[in-house]
Amino acid sequence: MNSNNDCKNRREAIAALVLDELAPQAADELREHIDACKTCRSLYQALMDEEETINSAFEAIADKSKNVQDDLIGEFEKGPHKPLGRSTLTLSTILNSRITKLAAAAVVVIVAVVALHNGSVQITTPAFGVQDVLDAMNEAQWVHCVGEITYLNVDANTAKEMDLSGVESWESVRPVRRIEKHKNGKIYFTESNIGKTSYYDPATNKITIKYRSPADPQEAYASIADMYIQQIAELEKKGAKINYEDGVYDGVSVKIMKIDFVLTPPLEVNISMVLDPATYLPKRLTAEQTDLKRLHVLVSAQFDYPKTGPRDIYEAGAPADAKVIIVDNRPSPEFLEAIAPYNAARENLPLRHILVFTQAREKSVWRTCVIYKDGRRERLEDRWDADERQESVPTAEDFEAILAWALSVGAKTLKIQIYDGQYIHYARRDLEGMWSVAEKEHSPEKMSHSIIRGLDWLGWPWIYNGKLFENDYSQENNLVCVETHVAARIKDGKLIAAAYRELYYLDPQHEYVCVREERFQRSQPPYNDRPDVKDLDFDPDDIPSEPSYVATVAELAQTDSGRWYPKKIRKDRHLWRASGNGCMSHVSTEFTAIYLQTNPWFPEGIFDPNNLLPEGAQIREPGAKTTFEKDFEAAIAIIDGKDQWSTPEEVALAYWQARARKDCNEMAVLWPGSASWNRQLVENETPVEYVFGKARKAGGKYVIVPYTDKSYYEKHGDYNLKTWLTNEKSTKGRYYIISGN
């Protein structure tokens, strides 16, 4: 006697039988069942009948296509044909700005150079004539600056990275222009009011002109004075102390403005600006930045105020014969119109709420996160890797019960972060239960980079650009679909991250929640070996047809005030990974559940940084080593103590061979710091035979050894996995493993 459930389970097997794709023994067994079961027999018969129809339909299609083939061949035989007219390729490349290429420490100095060439405006120093300075700045049409930057105590690689040894710049607000001409020949010409940046690279003799959305508020200053005020405000936010002194410059009495601040310790910045008491404008700036460990930066700049400046990149010095590449990433008016209600919904997210979210694979919760948010103030508690893998979310819908559960979940690591409206305070409990507390930071922007901020991440991601798109899914579900292209990232001529295409599906019926997100991106090498990728292009041919990542909102819910939000999200990620059975392509599925309470009551002191650490927290003594650090040092001592050491390829090979024979001691040396988790790693693992490619430089002191399992290599002829090595901590420059997949 078969139950209906049994028959339902056999539907796929029956289809496989019809398609002749069932193993012989299973096919025989199923046929026996079909003979005895009316339901299954009926399905089998229907499928077989259809099979004839489908086959003849496709045969008809194939026959018809023969006419097309003949036409095509005839067309080719007529002679060489012109290439098809192709629409101008829209390149969504994002150029790396000059600033972003600098070390973070140097950025502040450069910002200071940009900002401070305009004079003094410290509102608390009326004696100096603030208004006079502002008036003088507004009179100035252009600011011309010649700056020198000197790096001391910097190794050759870092110095190369910071190739900005000197810069000549012009800046004006009307028209909005910023031009930078670097000693290495690179020229940047920015017209931010129209979202246009031109960049000349003498190495390739190319000018890349990039258009971005003019709606981007970056660098939108009303006047030079306004620009100055905003930049100074940024410095003051970082804790800059501004003082004025009388002094002498070129034999003339001047006012000297001093700005001192400590960036992330131990970076200290001291800026000294000479202000001309006759014109109230800055004449000269010196800045000194000291990182007590390794970096010392000196900046000096001279300013003058011409009536005009370069009108285009050619006037700034780019040669007329340079090849021009246009990168146009401006949103269309249709896009802006369509996205406006989405942005409005996004802007109006509830500013006061408690949000609990959980992330789980199957039923096992591996992360719980609680966010308290009241306007700008925020507290986040983030628990990773539950101790008990069977932790499951309470089924009760009572928010208080879920909140209490989320806060009590045992987890291997816990991060707590508070933004009190002014500073970020951060503490972390590590795998050994010890707490570390970071220095408070001033920049709230950092929160969005390091942690999940809540609703805007989970339901209303930031979509700043793109094009409207339609496909079956958007049409069938009445969704607004936005397509965006993100350019590849290239470093030192190598592709380090593949370009991707992303589709966002926004639901206008439910507060424009982004109910589905699809990312199309190649997930694995050998893309980083492609010699043909030279420019930062979005190459449509490089994008897979199937998404590598899909996040779908499986359930929507409403807050007490009736606002819609995503309640359950399913995320499917296509991964390549080394496993006991070789290199596996598989889909990793995660579920995020969101519980939201708007206008909640907050426990007293929840945003108070004094309450950052839980009661009884044990803080790791400064300088005390973690288990990882101890393992690491022991391994490095062994590596450096040997008479001879191997090449990176040999180290990678030796590691995987040791892993195959479950030799944890050897593994712990070749991959320093891995001693504590090696045993868990190899316990149930089936050994795999890998093949290895040649090591290649990966920037800095890192090398990559590509590898793959033998069968994959025999089939595809390339490597889809990487082992990362470095020699950074070895006194003898010996390579060891730091990462691998």
Partner: protein
């Protein structure tokens, strides 16, 4: 460094070989079934599939020199085909006269074939390519897997699910 140079020269030679041996006739005769299968998967009527298929081969001939490895011609062609399908519909006006529910015109094909094509076009995206390639290109799972760059097991699973969905759609259509 020397090796990198040699590798590039090798690639260039492969490109030249591809251009020399892959004549238009060979390219069209050998791969049109697979290309058509893919076009069928992404269109709602045969007329569009035909147009796109022509464009794919025209594009392919102009880009043939960029093909570095002749053994990869099949996936290379299909990549062009996918892109051409996307471009084809993107360039069309987005406003459509409520066409979503309208059956496609038979387009010189038998009514039966049009009905099957219409049903295939209603399958979820990930199932369309495997099933169209399977029926148009020799009913061979391994070949479909090679063409799509996924495992045979994955192809088999998608085929089976797609076939059951097709059954539902065709039954629905019949009723």
């Amino acid at each position: 460094m020397a090796e990198a140079g040699q590798q590039r020269s090798g690639e260039a030679l492969n490109g030249a070989d591809a251009g020399a041996t892959l004549t238009p006739e060979v390219l069209v005769r050998k791969y049109s079934s697979a290309v058509l299968g893919l076009c069928i998967a992404h269109t709602k009527n045969f007329h569009d599939s035909e147009d796109i298929m022509q464009e794919v081969f025209l594009r392919a001939m102009t880009k043939l020199r960029t093909l570095r490895d002749e053994t990869r011609v099949r996936p290379w062609l299909l990549k062009i085909a996918r892109r051409t399908c996307i471009d084809y519909y993107r360039k069309r006006p987005t406003a459509r006269p409520l066409a979503g529910d309208m059956p496609a015109a038979p387009d010189r094909l038998s009514e039966q074939a049009a009905r099957v094509h219409q049903a295939v076009s209603r399958l979820p995206e990930q199932y369309r390519e495997p099933i169209a390639l399977y029926y148009l290109d020799g009913r061979n799972c391994a070949a479909v897997a090679h063409t799509l760059g996924i495992s045979e097991q994955a192809v088999r699973q998608r085929l089976v699910r797609a076939r059951l969905m097709l059954h539902e759609l065709l039954s629905e259509d019949k009723s």
